[in-house]
Amino acid sequence: MNPVVKAIPDVLRGLGGWAIHGLWWLGHVSHFLLEILIHSGTSFRRFNLITREIYFVGIYSLIIIIVSGLFVGFVLGLQGYNTLQKYASEQALGVLVALSLVRELGPVITALLFAGRAGTALTAEIGLMKATEQLSAMEIMAVDPIARVVAPRFWAGVISMPILAAIFSIVGVFGGYIVGVVLIGVDEGAFWAQMQAGVDVFDDVLNGEIKSLVFGVTVTLIALFEGYDCYPTAEGVARATTRTVVISSLTILALDFVLTSFMLGGW
């Protein structure tokens, strides 16, 4: 038989296995989310549990978000000016910078950075707690680890992400302003006026924030799940951390496309 034909069943079996594994994973994650939601009562009754995690998830990501936002703003200012001046419409620099940031780059880059900074930290932390039997110890102490450890981190991530995205966007706009107005010399009035005329609070700012909220849920959920589900050894935790970055990044980009098409189409 032709070797190519011979290989077809194996390929099909591989694809099938891959698909089944994907569905299995999706089911597990959904179930995990449900568990978190059911056991969220403790987190809201004792809000300091969430505050504490907001500190670790949010404040620790703040520096990287601010620095990245500033540089992305610089680059947008330079590139935007370079292109716009060919059409003699440098005044539109403000609206270009602001729209790119508020609609796309703010939510997406923040989510990617968040996955790398906070997501991995969450996975590693939960994974290590599992590997060192801290989660088991908690269970045997009659303290539900989902309620006590996972849920507060989940809500902290969900709360922090839109905040970080807003900070990223505003710092980015400021970066664009520095390059465009201060360094290159675009008219300051036109920069802000065009921006305000072109950016709609509901269509652009709010949609951007909705995106970042969805990304916050996604990234935090994946990070926590991978940590909670990891093989409890040093190698297992390392793998889970890698998976967090890979899966979150791909999911963010795919979801971004879906959400954007919804927002441009329907709203």
Partner: protein
């Protein structure tokens, strides 16, 4: 005193995926005793503790603690039951982000509304019992393995349990630390009137410490008795185990082809 059984394990089967770990396991743990479960690595000892704690469910059979069938309890009843159990994990399993004091205070803060003053007194009492009152402000990363196990022990007794389970409490300890832990287990058991289950494979320390021993091999009890009975046992498995012999019922060689055949000797033309 009539013998009263705190833990009853009746004909339990348990499998991880397709690997059968426990096969028809039966065990009775008498109230107030220190009981040891011994056996080689991977024979299902830790699994047994997790079944008692309700973290795993048996495929068939029942696990009863203090008259309640653990594997039939709902979430809330199980959690109520667990408040009366303490467990010492192999490496202590202290919460790495909390200080020694906060680790011991953790179950108290989670389960009671006691004022902070009272919690402080209780925690210091428990820490005093394990001799680590002075180490209360240290972080778990700053204390030795033996010390973290003692802290974990203080944490396990924080809610005054009726049953304390020890998962390999002696693994990786120096002789002094080991002696300290062994002493503590005995003293706490007698002073608090609890029942203790020790899963271990450190034979000599255990024989000197416990009231009753179960030997587990391949998912079932193969021998049981008081330390004296075990020492006198003529069962080959027990003999091999307590004298740490290299070969016996538990073979040194992983099963495979005969050696001579494997290196190409023996059979002509092989």
């Amino acid at each position: 005193m009539p013998t009263e059984h705190l833990v009853e394990i009746n004909n339990v089967n348990f499998a991880y995926d397709n690997r059968l770990v426990l096969k028809g396991m039966n065990m009775l743990i008498t109230k107030g005793q220190v009981v040891s479960i011994m056996g080689g690595s991977g024979c299902g000892k830790t699994t047994l503790l997790r079944l008692i704690g309700g973290q795993l469910q048996p495929a068939t059979g029942s696990v009863r603690v203090a008259g309640e069938t653990i594997n039939e309890l709902g979430h809330d009843d199980l959690y109520r039951m667990r408040r009366r159990m303490g467990m010492l994990f192999q490496f202590g399993a202290l919460f790495t982000d909390l200080s020694v004091f906060d680790n011991v205070a953790f179950p108290l803060r989670e389960h009671t509304d006691l004022p902070e003053m009272l919690i402080r007194d209780l925690v210091l009492m428990k820490l005093h019992a394990v001799g680590l009152r002075g180490a209360r402000q240290l972080m778990p990363s700053a204390i030795s393995g033996g010390m973290s196990r003692r802290v974990a022990l203080a944490r396990a007794i924080a809610l005054d349990p009726m049953l304390i389970m020890y998962d390999e409490p002696f693994a990786g300890l120096d002789p002094i630390a080991l002696g300290v832990i062994a002493n503590l287990i005995r003293r706490l058991n007698d002073a608090l009137g609890v029942t203790s289950i020790i899963v271990t494979h450190d034979v000599q320390e255990t024989l000197a410490l416990v009231d009753y021993i179960y030997f587990v091999s391949e998912g079932a009890v193969v021998a049981q008795g008081t330390p004296d009975e075990i020492r006198a046992s003529t069962l080959p498995f027990v003999h091999q185990f307590i004298h740490a012999e290299m070969d016996g019922p538990v073979p040194f060689h992983y099963s495979g082809k005969p050696y001579a055949q494997d290196i190409g000797l023996g059979e002509p033309g092989g």
